[in-house]
């Protein structure tokens, strides 16, 4: 069973190539790094290995301009990339979300810094890796027994958002840079997807199972609350670790839940109006159709 609807929609293109470590066994088509998807779709090539120990008898594969990828070596590259990025995070508070941080990280791991040149959208790769890590940490926290039973939904949402935002505290001095990197048009699709998954995960944990139009509204609203709090946090230097930010968060979440009620009411209202208008429109249409069918009956069939 899919964990959340979002995974079903967004799973195939999950960000920078990390496999989530998920607690339950799941069908293999869910979270697959994008590169694996491509190679599995084009199976004759996907099975071909560029391992020098094996030889590929088929020489002619004129499939046009495609990337030559195969599963096993690519997995190694992604592991290396993950290792380098993980090491680079330690340098971010000092060097920012930059190539320099990644070069330092690669030196730590013992790999030539040239590898950084091959990361797609370089600094964005680092930021996206961090976002994935945080989401994974959040999932782990939730799975390892976070106590949400005694809280009402709005408080649960607050708590989860707070846990997630607290992960960014060590990097707070450089977080504006990360936000601007995520806002570049080139990077927006991925950052949007990551945030959508985060928001969806939070709602799912809170216990929401809706899958109608409400689903989109909820995710959008929580996305807005999350972003607003994130930005508020950037300039918050209240004592006791961002006390003002958490107060701001609680207020926004409460507003959102009130908004939810108002939206529900607005929907019912619209439905009622629609019903009223619809009835009169339907009456009109029926009259028109009857007139047309009597006229059409006189002419020959087409």
């Amino acid at each position: 069973m899919y964990r959340t609807a979002a995974r079903r929609l967004l799973g195939a293109g999950f960000t920078t190539s990390r496999l989530l470590r998920l607690p339950k066994p799941r069908p293999t088509t869910t979270i697959i790094p994008y590169s694996y998807c491509t190679s599995s779709m084009e199976s004759p090539i996907g099975n071909q290995s560029v391992n020098p120990n094996q030889s590929d008898p088929t020489a002619a594969r004129e499939e046009g301009h495609r990337r030559d990828e195969s599963r096993k070596p690519r997995a190694e590259f992604q592991e290396e990339q993950a290792r380098v990025l993980a090491a680079s995070l330690r340098h971010v508070p000092r060097l920012g979300w930059t190539e320099e941080a990644m070069i330092a990280g690669s030196r730590e791991v013992g790999v030539s810094p040239s590898i950084v040149g091959s990361f797609s959208r370089k600094e964005a790769a680092l930021v996206e890796y961090f976002m994935d890590e945080c989401l994974q940490l959040l999932i782990d926290r939730v799975d390892s027994g976070l106590d949400l039973q005694n809280l009402i939904p709005s408080e649960r949402v607050s708590k989860l958002v707070r846990i997630r935002l607290e992960m960014q505290i060590p990097y707070m001095s450089k977080w504006p840079q990360a936000l601007s990197i995520q806002a570049h048009p080139v990077n927006v699709p991925t950052s949007f997807k990551q945030r959508a998954m985060l928001v969806d995960e939070i709602w799912h944990t809170v216990g929401d199972g809706a899958s109608d139009l409400d689903w989109y509204v909820k995710r959008t609203v929580l996305g807005g609350v999350y972003s607003a709090t994130e930005i508020y946090m950037l300039t918050d230097d209240s004592p006791a670790e961002y006390r003002d930010t958490w107060a701001f968060l609680d207020d926004r979440v409460k507003d959102a839940f009130d908004l939810k009620k108002s939206i529900q009411e607005a929907k019912y209202f619209a439905q009622d109006i629609g019903a009223g208008v619809g009835k009169s429109f339907q009456g009109l249409m029926n009259g028109v159709m009857q007139t047309m069918s009597t006229r059409g009956g006189r002419s020959s069939a087409f």
Partner: protein, 259 residues
């Protein structure tokens, strides 16, 4: 002689040697004319993909006249880069760009151009005569390896790729810029027309050497297409082999990593 003739292996390197001895002095001008200046953009793209960093050890093979090497040097040393980023001067000093070419005439042109830029005493640029199939550099010594418009002239491409793999460090990048195959229907015919009718005539007019450019055009056709070359790179042991077509396939940049 023609690129399509079955040339014996021993003779190929001699013939190529002759070709480049003849064309060395007008190599740069001919490049500009044949590609309408586009070769500069292609080389910029190559260096962009490389993402040079201060302190890197780089090897540019078959880069006699230094086009790619100078670009890498500029990328590492540009004032703007140094101002924007936190680079310490010591790493800039450590940067070493080796330019290796089998043909001393091409290297001389390169050294001359370096002198014109005031870089003849700069320790970062090192001009080395050598064979792509048998490099004189140590194993695991290079952060980057580029070969621009050179690999089609190598007699045994697999050997050159194996040497590239040998000298690169773990995580090092291999980048190859080369004329490649066009598949787009109408454009392919136009390109063939241009190659076979126009270029040899330009060679005669500007460099005074029709045969060398006839050889060039035909050797491009003999070079493996993008996919097959990518496979050869993978067979040499490289990972994450990718290629990017420029101008519909007239030129392709293959990139890979040694892991």
């Amino acid at each position: 002689f023609s690129g399509f003739q079955q040339v014996k292996e021993e003779e190929k390197s001699k013939l190529v040697g002759n070709v480049f001895t003849n064309v060395a002095s007008s190599y740069d001008i001919m490049n500009d004319v044949m590609s309408a200046g586009l070769h500069r953009l292609w080389k910029e793209r190559l260096v962009g993909k490389l993402s040079p960093f201060a302190g890197m050890k780089h090897l540019d093979v078959a880069g006699g006249t230094g086009d790619v090497a100078f670009r890498i040097f500029d990328a590492v040393n540009s004032v703007k880069r140094r101002a924007l980023r936190k680079v310490d001067e010591a790493s800039i000093e450590e940067t070493q760009i080796y330019v290796c070419d089998i043909n001393p005439n091409m290297l001389n042109v390169g050294k001359q151009r370096a002198a014109e830029r005031g870089l003849s005493d700069n320790r970062s640029l090192v001009w080395v005569e050598g064979d792509a199939e048998a490099l004189s550099f140590d194993d695991d010594s290079m952060d980057g390896y580029t070969i621009a418009f050179g690999i089609r002239n190598v007699t045994h491409i697999e050997k050159a790729l194996a040497e590239a793999y040998r000298v690169l460090k773990r995580g090092g990048r291999f980048l190859c810029l080369e004329l490649s195959h066009v598949d787009i229907p109408v454009f392919k015919e136009l390109y063939d027309l241009y190659s076979f009718q126009v270029i040899p005539n330009l060679g005669e007019l500007i460099a005074g050497d029709r045969d060398s450019y006839q050889y060039l055009v035909e050797s491009v056709r003999r070079f493996p297409p993008q996919e097959r070359f990518a496979k050869m790179i993978g067979d040499a042991g490289f990972e994450k082999v990718e290629y990017e077509n420029l101008v519909g396939g007239v030129v392709a940049i293959h990139s890979a990593i040694k892991l």
